[in-house]
């Protein structure tokens, strides 16, 4: 299994790499387009600000490549958000993989949401063995609205998408690499997803 973490300069990649190491898989960090194409599976991470992360993707040409990938791709946190149509954070366009816009929480709640919240309405192989209302760790100020591509929801101010899927593309708003054993189970499920030929 060749697992690549797309390293475009945004985010706490070490934690993700270590989480896979705990599962016995050595993830490779790469921003090389040719190498990325050879991966069996890919992680698209991201922590930070959306428009500057999008700028980094454009500079490296990854914005054109990522949407064309045929392998299973898992976006995490800002990674997931960048896979959507657009984000209110820095008013940027996204990669357009998920047909939904990213919005900011209102000031009716504390922003960022920081801590453990439950995920529900689970419907994907990504959640095999994960029970409804399992706790996951989230840190974010922006969210994807609930939509047809939601494969899990959570609630903070409103109910919104905790995870998205479109064909081979998956995205999770929470941090599975920081969500204890159940988070690791989701990463393991991702590793075990069948690869379409």
């Amino acid at each position: 299994m060749k697992l690549i973490i797309i390293d475009y300069g945004a985010g706490n990649i070490k934690s993700i790499q270590f989480a896979f190491k705990r599962l016995g898989v050595d993830a490779i960090l790469s921003n090389n387009i040719d190498e990325i194409k050879t991966a069996d599976k890919l992680i698209f991470p991201g922590v930070g600000e959306a428009s500057s992360a999008m700028k980094m993707l454009k500079e490296s040409g990854l914005d054109k490549i990522i949407p064309t990938l045929k392998q299973p791709v898992l976006g995490i946190c800002l990674g997931m958000q960048l896979m959507c149509n657009s984000s209110e954070e820095g008013n940027t366009t996204g990669l357009g993989i998920f047909d939904v816009a990213i919005k900011r929480f209102s000031n009716a709640v504390k922003v960022p949401q920081m801590g453990w919240n439950t995920i529900s309405r689970l419907k994907s192989d990504l959640f095999t063995g994960v029970k409804e209302k399992e706790f996951m760790y989230l840190v974010h100020s922006f969210y994807a609205e609930n939509c047809n591509e939601s494969i899990a929801t959570t609630a903070y101010e409103i109910e919104y998408a905790a995870a998205l899927q479109n064909d081979n593309f998956y995205g999770v708003q929470f941090h599975p690499e920081k969500s204890g054993l159940e988070g690791e189970r989701i990463l393991k499920n991702f590793l075990e997803l069948k690869i379409k030929n």
Partner: protein
């Protein structure tokens, strides 16, 4: 529903935990990595490591510790103590820390908060504030609460929020070490006047104190050291008690 967080805090000197830690079945109570793993298994929601090393050598050891914690612990953790520049933070985050906690450096140069939020995002910037109530007014203190500043707690907290802090860790010097409960009145005021999460610190002695800081103090998280380290309060028991009081917790 977002749950209230319980955060054990470990003081680290030269890569080892200081203050007594008295856990059952621990091979090495001075090893922060073993302790951190144990806390994660016992139900801690996050961890804070406070570096109290005074030497350069000690700081290097801290970076190695952060790397080891990130390698073995699957819950989020914050690192604080002696962080004074964007470069310091870059190294810590690169080593796997999820958040950093800044105290004196932000007071000395408030622009640091903006720089960190801009570069790394506000989600990883925790501003720690030590304050003491003197003649009714909450005064921010430096150097572990020993040197008073001219800053008022609420004004300073609001300023760092505007500058990009993602969270406030407020330690009441009046309550710290007393085991008489958290400074709930000031905490509630912070929580009402600011729109970022507030971590209560200083004064934890009983489970009821945690109930009170979430209900009366409106805190989003509560941090404590000795009650956890000496096994006076087991995290699971604490969470069960909080749940009985209808406080949302991860259990």
């Amino acid at each position: 529903m977002l749950t209230k967080r319980i955060i054990p805090c470990l003081d680290i000197k030269n890569g080892r935990t200081v203050k007594g830690v008295n856990f059952v079945n621990l091979i090495d109570a001075g090893d922060p990595v073993i302790l951190a793993k144990q806390y994660a298994e016992l139900g801690a929601d996050e961890l804070v490591f406070l570096d109290i090393s005074a030497t350069l050598e000690g700081r290097k050891t801290m970076l190695e510790m952060v790397l080891k914690v990130a390698e073995q612990v699957n819950i989020p953790f914050t690192v604080g103590g002696g962080i004074s520049s964007v470069a310091d933070v870059a190294l810590l985050l690169k080593s796997g820390a999820d958040k950093v906690s800044i105290n004196s450096s932000a007071i000395k140069r408030p622009e640091l908060v903006n720089e960190l939020a801009e570069k790394f995002g506000n989600q990883c910037v925790v501003i720690a504030i030590d304050a003491k109530q003197i003649d009714g007014e909450w005064i921010v203190h430096l150097a572990g609460g020993t040197i008073p500043t001219s800053l008022n707690l609420f004004d300073w907290a609001k300023e760092v929020e505007v500058r990009g802090a993602g969270e406030i860790l407020f330690t009441s010097m009046n309550n710290d070490g007393t085991k008489a409960g958290f400074a709930n009145e000031a905490l509630a005021k912070l929580s009402t006047e600011l729109n970022i999460p507030i971590i209560a610190s200083g004064g934890a002695g009983t489970m009821q104190h945690f109930v009170d800081t979430f209900k009366i103090g409106k805190s989003d998280a509560a941090l404590a050291a000795s009650v956890f380290h000496f096994g006076e309060i087991a995290i699971l028991d604490l969470k069960q008690t909080l749940k009985q009081h209808n406080i949302p917790v991860r259990i």
